[in-house]
């Protein structure tokens, strides 16, 4: 790919943009130029201000100070619609899907094709035809007429991508587009990005997976605490320099892998089955180890964990805790048996977004810590919150802060705190570091290690191979609802894991990914830091 | 208004002793609270108009409230009136059960309480009641229906509204006479509740007419019901006759239009609301002045309005 985009006038210039939220100064005097035909990567830790910046560019927020110059004209739009009409389209960090609508309706939402001049009647046929065209171009496995809500997170993300490429935009912004995608889908995305570049579209690309930059980035800008700390062509800078400028310091061993001493069995499942999703899953997890669960997105790992946590009904199979079989009727009993479950979707199933940090942390433990059986113990609440704010180094203005105002990393720590307070001995972490920056990640891994050293047991579902390799003592791999293998420390390698995870689907072929040989290995190299 | 003040059988006035109504008030004007059943009913509005008119005439300050056909609301009004230390309270209770405690509280606070339209049987401190005998009205209605059906007889239907006690009395009076006096060739084949909603009355009658296209006569216990019934009868092209209840202007107008609505809506049991209004004011005033009332119970006789009656008393010329 040609790195430097043809050097012409910048299509967008942000000049001395400042944005303050009550309490927070998200951006300070940010000035960046974006050029057509170029992928401009925007990097920074959680809370650095990336999303805030692109929300300003796309008319979601109005900047407190500063100017936007798009196509050499100063712009001040009142709503996102105006930005869209100028040719600025965005894939937002949070999925923006209307669940009840069809895929086609989602792709063309807000710009439905109309019949005739007055565009009053809807031209459904055209809408579905064009949508299907875009989808097949991306080689996805669902139809334009499907209901968006029935699709998996990954599939919904592909709808978002189809949305922006079907608009003939001049500037395309992608805020962590790959965080919920599998390799094959990431491949498809990168192909589309290439296409857009050829049509001289400017692209702003936000990610926490620095390896991806190698494939897409032409130019990078690093934000820290809302200030631009580094601007460079990608080729002129090394990854460690980038990380250093993001974090503000050098981090040596990123995962700081620990050798744990595996002790007695904590959890064992035998022949666990949920019809249509996964079948005959059997494995054991031990005290004092981190068990990695690898696999491509959609392999069924989340469902397995939900079933162990008794959130999903199992069709058949046994669950043993500390060696004795237990029929868990519901999550309450799972918790009573000292299991904790940090789900993969923080916002929807992890947190009460409108509630305070404190209430989120203590929720599962309230009953256990009750005074006189029925009453909340406020002293204990304060004590335990402050205790874990310290232990986990959770950055929050206070106990009563509404949790949605915390950055992603801190939100994730709160969820961890919640299960530690619940005195969990078996921690199930599903995609624990999704959308979390390097610094927060390494802190999080340390906390995991501490927990295991203290005699805990962790089951970590992750789609990031390096993460699995970096922290897991042992890994089981799932493929299309089946357990396809187990690897111990010695056997663990990207190659082995990827083969277990995807060798089958390679045989199937016909998705663009399989087009070029062992690309899933190459692509798997893209994953993580 | 129609009729003159002298109706109402006068018993020898059993003057209850006047309680401690501030005697020094003589000369200066009295403040009296009136609570009508509901301002959503024309009937009560006509009473209220008469009350206001009469009060202006004899110089009483009238505080009028809407009882909303909700005893709890009426009870609140009474409390508020006591707080305003009025000289007397007159109310139209939702039903015979009335609002006992509130009335007794008012009485205990030395404020005489009167009732009109609907009596209150649960307390004995009511100074005087002025109102139509609705059972009697229902009986008149039945007799009128029988007359209208004539020798050939036929079927009859009644549109009631049991939620309102006065409507219920009319219904009971009607059914009672129909049972006792009706010849064998007259039968009550339909009985429905229109819930005070003319549109519901229309649907009821429409359904009756499909079941029995020759339905002879309908007794409607309130004018909204007549409006609804009339609409459906016209629509169905039936010859069913309507006997209404209340005697509101719209009824008089309809009956008077003999070759239009008057073809179906032929007679009306009237309660003479203006007379009820003026009489209750007279009694309150008399009591405040002299400590006596004409009688503990002053019934206002219901009477039948027909085309002839309208012409004789030239009600339409006004």
């Amino acid at each position: 790919m040609e790195t430097k985009g043809v050097m012409e006038k910048p299509i967008l210039q942000v000049k001395e943009i400042t944005k303050t939220f009550p309490g927070v100064k998200a951006l300070t005097d940010v000035s960046i130029d974006f050029y057509p035909g170029e992928v401009h990567a925007l990097l920074g830790e959680n809370g650095a201000g990336k999303s805030t910046l692109i929300k300003i560019i796309s008319g979601v927020y109005i900047p407190t100070k500063g100017t936007l110059i798009f196509e050499q004209k100063e712009r001040a739009y009142k709503n996102p619609g105006e930005a869209l009409n100028l040719g600025i389209s965005v894939i937002h960090q949070e999925l923006s899907i209307a669940n009840e609508l069809s895929v086609a309706e989602n792709i063309f939402i807000g710009r439905e094709p109309g019949k005739g001049k007055q565009r009053f009647l809807l031209d459904r046929r055209k809408m579905e035809r064009d949508a299907q065209k875009a989808l097949s171009l991306m080689g996805v496995n669902f139809k334009a007429t499907d209901i968006a809500g029935d699709l998996s997170a990954a599939q919904q993300q592909m709808i978002e991508i189809a949305k922006v490429i079907t608009r003939n935009s001049k500037l395309v912004i992608m805020d962590e587009p790959t965080s919920s995608l599998s390799d094959s889908e990431i491949e498809a995305l990168f192909k589309q990005i290439e296409m857009l570049k050829k049509n001289n579209v400017a692209i702003i690309y936000i990610t926490h997976r620095l390896k991806e930059l190698k494939v897409v980035a032409d130019r990078i800008t690093v934000l820290r605490d809302g200030i631009v700390v580094k601007k460079s062509l990608y080729e002129d800078i090394t990854e460690s320099e980038i990380v250093a400028s993001m974090v503000g310091r050098k981090i040596s061993d990123y995962y700081n892998k620990q050798q744990h001493i595996r002790k007695e069995e904590m959890l064992r499942v035998e022949g666990l089955t949920v019809k249509g999703v996964f079948e005959d899953v059997s494995f054991a997890a031990y005290k004092g180890e981190i068990l990695g669960v690898a696999g491509l997105v959609g392999a069924g790992r989340t469902e397995v964990m939900e079933t162990i946590f008794a959130d999903k009904k199992k069709a058949s199979g046994k669950v043993f805790i500390k060696g004795k079989e237990i029929e868990l009727k519901n999550s309450r009993e799972a918790i009573a048996n000292k299991i904790g479950f940090a789900t993969e979707d923080r916002r929807r199933t992890g947190l009460m977004l409108e509630a305070s940090v404190k209430n989120n942390i203590v929720l599962p433990s309230l009953r256990r810590k009750a005074m006189k059986k029925a009453f909340v113990n406020p002293k204990w609440e304060k004590k335990v919150c402050d205790e874990y704010f310290g232990k986990l180094d959770i950055k929050t203005p206070g106990r009563e802060t509404i949790i949605k105002n915390l950055s992603g990393g801190n939100q994730q720590k709160v969820i961890l705190a919640k299960w530690l307070v619940a005195e969990s001995e078996i921690l199930i972490l599903d995609e624990p570091t999704r959308g979390i920056d390097v610094n927060a990640k390494s802190e999080f891994y340390n906390l995991m290690n501490e927990f295991v050293d203290a005699g805990g047991c962790i089951i970590m579902v992750s789609s990031e191979l390096p993460e699995i390799l970096g922290v897991a003592d042992r890994v089981i791999v799932m493929r299309e609802g089946h357990l396809s293998g187990e690897l111990n420390r010695a056997e663990m390698s990207e190659l082995n894991i990827m083969q277990l995870a995807s060798i089958q689907s390679e045989a199937e072929s016909n998705t663009p990914r399989q087009a070029d040989g062992a690309s899933n290995l190459q692509s798997s190299k893209l994953r993580g830091i | 208004g129609c009729g003159s003040g002298d109706s109402g059988a006068k018993e020898s006035s059993a003057g209850t002793d006047k309680k401690n109504v501030s005697a020094e008030e003589d000369g200066e004007s009295y403040r009296v609270g009136f609570i009508v059943g509901s301002r959503e009913h024309v009937f009560y509005n006509l009473i209220e108009d008469a009350i206001k008119e009469k009060c202006d005439e004899i110089g009483i300050e009238a505080l009028c409230y809407d009882g909303e056909l909700d005893a709890n609301v009426q009870s609140n009004h009474i409390e508020n009136l006591v707080a305003q230390d009025v000289d007397a309270i007159a109310l139209a209770t939702v039903d015979a059960a009335g609002v006992g405690p509130a009335i007794e509280a008012a009485d205990a606070a030395g404020i005489p309480v009167f009732t009109f339209d609907s009596p209150c049987t649960t307390v004995d401190c009511i100074v005087c009641h002025v109102g139509t005998d609705n059972v009697k009205g229902g009986e008149l209605g039945a007799q009128e229906c029988i007359r209208l059906l004539g020798d050939k007889g036929g079927t009859a239907g009644i549109i009631g509204n049991p939620a309102s006690s006065s409507c219920l009395d009319r219904e009971n009076g009607f059914l009672d006479i129909m049972e006792k006096e009706a010849p064998d060739n007259v039968e009550v084949s339909f009985n429905g509740n229109y819930q005070g909603d003319a549109n519901i009355a229309a649907s009821l009658v429409q359904d009756w007419l499909t079941a029995d296209p020759d339905l002879g006569v309908i007794f409607a216990t309130g004018d909204p019901a007549c409006t609804g019934a009339l609409a459906s009868i016209k629509a169905a092209g039936a010859d069913t006759l309507i006997v209404g209840y209340d005697g509101n202007p719209e009824a008089i107008k309809a009956i008077y239009a003999q070759d239009e609505d008057g073809k179906w809506w032929v007679s009306e049991i009237s309660q003479n609301p203006p007379l009820i209004g003026s009489t209750i004011v007279e009694q309150v005033y008399k009591y405040l002045k002299t400590g006596k009332v004409d009688a503990k119970n002053i019934p206002i006789e219901p009477y039948i309005i027909t085309y002839e009656y309208i012409v004789d008393n030239n009600l339409m010329s006004e």
């Binding site: 796309s58 979601v60 709503n79 996102p80 619609g81 105006e82 869209l84 009409n85 965005v90 937002h92 923006s96 899907i97 209307a98 669940n99 009840e100 609508l101 309706e105 939402i109 807000g110 710009r111 439905e112 565009r119 009053f120 009647l121 809807l122 459904r124 | 301002r39 959503e40 009913h41 024309v42 509005n45 049991p162 339909f190 009985n191 429905g192 509740n193 819930q195 005070g196 909603d197 003319a198 549109n199 229309a202 649907s203 009821l204 429409q206 359904d207 009756w208 499909t210 079941a211 004018d223 909204p224 409006t227 609804g228 609409a231 629509a235 092209g237 719209e250 107008k253 309809a254 239009e260």
Partner: protein, 326 residues
């Protein structure tokens, strides 16, 4: 899964409807006579109009409990205008009736819509305020008296019938039913075949996304509430026409039956899902229960109880069907 099965999942309520028809058909001889069936279509028309409007609102994720009061107010209004033109020709009268409905509906709807869209008042409260106020105004302007003495032509829309036969001297097909069908077709097209319709679903499905996608969410909400109020006003005008008399107390609590009908018709109170056609099944159910129970001379007290229970059961059946699918 088979189209038929899918359909029955969407329309479990139709099964309830059929069961009711069979039941009343057996229980009462008059029920299935042509005359009575025609009556039912006429009787459900007014609730149907309110329901169509409310369906739009509910699909956007809102609610409107003011339709009954707005209907009454518009009905009164049309009656007063009608009084002013005793000699007007039929077409003129129709103009007055539609005109008043659109006029009052637009005012009330815009008021509600702006309160919700611009001042961010929760729909429940905004429409509660309108419910109380519009009812109050209806009484204020009439001073509690019905508005009577309307020209007979005024009754054509609500009470008139076309095609007189031997057996039915006053005509077979109620004009109000024809009127309803026309409105229904128009509204169905508006909801399912136009871009505006898409936006109604989009706003109900995900307001934030709709906004980010350049849909003017506020405008959609305001338009939908204007539309709903106009439909309510039309219903009110039809009541006035049917009674040939303007009642300030008209259509009291009708909103509840309209909402019930909408939900029975498979519209989700969470927004994003719904159809005006299916809502008509809901109206039919309610109308049939009323009519059937009237014919069977069931006490109006029991009618309330039974109505409540049937609505509940119907919705439960509907839910069960949908759950199966999940």
């Amino acid at each position: 899964m088979g189209k038929a099965k899918e359909w029955s999942e969407k329309n479990a309520v139709v099964i309830v409807l059929i069961v009711l028809i069979i039941f009343f058909g057996i229980a009462n001889s008059t029920f299935l006579t042509p005359a009575n069936i025609i009556n039912i279509t006429a009787q459900m028309s007014i609730n149907a109009m309110l329901t169509i409007g409310i369906t739009f609102v509910i699909i956007t994720g809102g609610i409107d409990i003011s339709v009954g009061s707005v209907a009454a107010f518009a009905g009164i209004f049309s009656a007063y205008i009608g009084l002013k033109f005793p000699k007007a020709p039929l077409i003129g009268i129709l103009g007055i009736q539609l005109g008043s409905a659109i006029f009052i509906g637009t005012i009330c709807g815009a008021f509600i819509g702006i309160a919700i869209a611009k001042f961010k008042v929760v729909p429940m409260i905004a429409t509660l305020a309108m419910m109380t106020s519009a009812r109050g105004l209806a009484y204020v302007v009439t001073d509690g008296q019905p508005v009577y003495g309307l020209p007979n032509k005024f009754a054509w829309l609500g009470a008139g019938r076309l095609i007189t036969t031997e057996k039915m001297k006053n005509g077979v097909i109620p004009i109000i039913t024809i009127f309803l069908v026309i409105i229904l077709i128009l509204m169905h097209i508006l909801l399912s075949r136009t871009i505006f319709g898409r936006h109604v679903y989009a706003v109900g499905s995900n307001e934030k996304v709709s906004h980010l996608s350049g849909i003017n969410v506020d405008a959609v909400k305001i338009k939908v509430h204007i539309l709903c109020s106009i439909m309510a006003a039309l219903g009110g005008v039809c009541v006035t026409s049917k009674l040939n008399n303007g009642q300030p107390a008209a259509c009291d609590t009708y909103e509840m039956y309209a909402i019930a009908a909408t939900v029975l018709g498979g519209t989700s109170l969470l927004g994003g899902i719904g159809s005006v056609l299916r809502a008509m099944f809901g109206c039919a159910i309610i109308a049939i229960i009323n009519n059937g129970m009237n014919l069977m001379q069931i006490s109006s007290y029991w009618q309330k109880v039974i109505m409540g229970m049937i609505i509940l059961v119907a919705v439960i059946i509907d839910m069960a069907q949908k759950k199966e699918k999940k």
